[in-house]
Point group: C2
């Protein structure tokens, strides 16, 4: 796929998204259903003859199908997990056939709030049903069937992506051999939900939101979405990393005694908020945060995570980051303890890190060694 | 002052705010000045003959002068620190004459954004100058002079209140014998500033804010102020305390798959946000958060906190709370280490607690023992 000298050697190079149209209705956990849907996905590497070397990558809150490589010769930024996916990288495309999709409810091409509602001919907007992690897994099974992958060699995800991996392992135990669960939690705490609620409240109280029907009003809840992103950013970074990066550095030599951005960190957050508005849909943001809040796989098993994990057949690699306060190592250890109690095969690595939750995107040597070694052994069994 | 059987026995009972009008202009750190100002304050207990048993209480972000007792027979809630101030309580009004004021820039009676601007005859609103901790201390010195208190037996504060105590000890070393610095930080981190900036951004981007001139537009930035308060609340509470209080408890038996408040914690935050709007001014909130951001007493001493603390003559009691992640015990220890390096007399207590930053308001036995014992010895030297 790579045919350009302008991309780094260990890049998957130029990639083109593909689209799967699923005509069967999808019954959702909410009781509603989607009459049909499309999934946009990318693949990197080559599927082997016995279709046993496939890895599925599940994305987190603001991610999408474009996990690695470039969409054009002039593309400046590669996919969101390009650090980890490529020839010779931890998710090695010389060994694996990697599939990455945009989830339904997303805003990057798969059916979601910005798609046309076949019932009205207009954008779904606020009428798009609330989908949750179980629903995503169902749609990913449809994609697996389409690709004729009976069993994934591994399913990999971080944060909300890791929640999909856990759900896969419980709901479709025989369709994955390995589950890589990175920077996860078995369910959100009240504080996690509280941060999401403030973000949602910011979006929903923006006068431009119009109960989610902003497209009909030719407007965008830019202020609310921007605030949501600013707040999100604080929770993705550690206190220390923000101090290392910005400290109390000022934008002008002296304090200005006004409400302009005096400190660099203020300016950074405002920029991040604004940039997000141009690339993300507010209804999708609401939906993704609700999927996080609702995730609780133990619930169907009498609130017993061990019983939930007893369903699984996969082997597990659980990875957490010491500086992650959004989903701290303690939350990953809850998963590990449940897996051990359930008699499952689990490896656990707590990576010493500085950045916070966002560390899952970083090429931290200890982290990448763990992924590389684990997946090298997985490849031997393909 | 107490003349009612309906108040608890260890309450200071009925109290009435008093007002000091200062006619001298106050030169502010910003370079601007206030042509004169008024301070609203309350007193509890009796000043002794040699005026040596006075304690000044400095309030935090959303506090005011009403720290203890009741304003009427039908008043249901006492002042904000009634747990700690009263006969037989840690700040014992049988021993001390306690003074509590509303800071300038506040919205509870002292001159602030909701006061009349003498230059225009209208509310100051956005024209009220940004005041900082040093300015508050100057205005508190004026109050001390008015009350003919040459030296406070102790100045006490928590959070932003504790920052005023630190500034007093540096700027007016001989006017206080003891400095009680509770749940403090010597300056905000980038993360602290970031949370404040999101709160300010929520207020300032509310269309009803009108650049702070909402009074002229007969409106209130309710949405923004409410969001700011919701976010604040998350940072005042610990993850564990929110989980203990709310966990993932639902408001209805089942998930509703909509954007109503599904979890109790969502409903709690929304309520807190709404309730705040009725009692607090948005311009004051902006000003108070900026005062927090700007606080950095070491700055005038070459960014050397030890050099700053060398100015002090007071004895110090520093108290932190184990579950406080807004200003963690590590931040208090920075103050303690600087005081030790500066050769000052300092006692330090890290209180085992669950609630988070808000613990400073709670009658935690270990905490109240420390305050009681420290102040008992202070009283002996009055």
């Amino acid at each position: 796929m790579s045919d350009s000298h302008r991309f780094p050697e260990n890049s998957v190079g130029l990639v083109a998204p593909q689209t799967l149209r699923v005509e069967q209705p999808l019954a959702l956990q909410s009781g509603r259903s989607l009459p049909g849907y499309q999934l946009v996905y990318e693949t990197y590497g080559t599927l082997n003859a016995n279709r046993s070397n496939a890895i599925l990558v599940c994305h987190a809150l603001s991610g999408n199908h474009h996990a690695a490589g470039y969409h054009s010769e002039t593309d400046k930024k590669p996919g969101w997990w390009d650090s980890a996916i490529g020839p010779g990288k931890p998710i090695d495309t010389n060994l694996f056939f990697v599939v990455s999709l945009n989830n339904i409810g997303g805003c990057s091409g798969s059916t979601g709030p910005v798609s046309e509602n076949p019932a009205t001919g207009k954008q779904y907007g606020a009428d798009f049903p609330l989908v949750v992690v179980e629903d995503w897994v169902c749609s990913q099974v449809a994609l697996s069937d389409h690709l004729q992958i009976d069993q994934w060699s591994a399913i990999v995800g971080a944060s909300l992506g890791a929640m999909q991996v856990l759900q896969w392992s419980i709901d479709y135990p025989h369709r994955l051999k390995n589950a890589l669960v990175i920077a996860a939690a078995p369910k959100l705490t009240a504080q996690n939900i509280a941060f999401n609620e403030v973000a949602r409240h910011a979006i929903r109280t923006d006068p431009a939101f119009h109960d989610g029907r902003y497209a009909e009003h030719n407007t965008l809840p830019e202020t609310g979405l921007s605030l949501a992103r600013m707040l999100g950013h604080i929770t993705y970074l550690s206190d220390k990393s923000m101090d290392d990066k910005f400290g109390r550095e000022l934008r002008s030599p002296e304090l200005t005694f006004d409400y302009n951005a005096n400190f660099q960190v203020e300016s950074y957050l405002r920029y991040q908020g604004k940039a997000f508005v141009g690339r993300f849909d507010a209804n999708t943001y609401l939906l993704m945060t609700k999927a996080l809040d609702y995730f609780d796989p133990a619930k169907a098993y009498g609130d017993d995570l061990t019983r939930a994990m007893q369903q699984a057949s996969a082997k597990f690699l659980v990875v957490s980051f010491s500086s992650d306060w959004r989903f701290s190592p303690a939350r990953s250890r809850e998963i590990v303890h449940a897996l051990i109690a359930a008699g499952k095969h689990v490896s656990y690595a707590e990576i010493q890190s500085d950045l916070g939750h966002d560390d899952f995107l970083m090429p931290i040597p200890q982290y990448f060694s763990v992924l590389t070694e684990y997946l090298r052994r997985v490849a031997e069994q393909c």
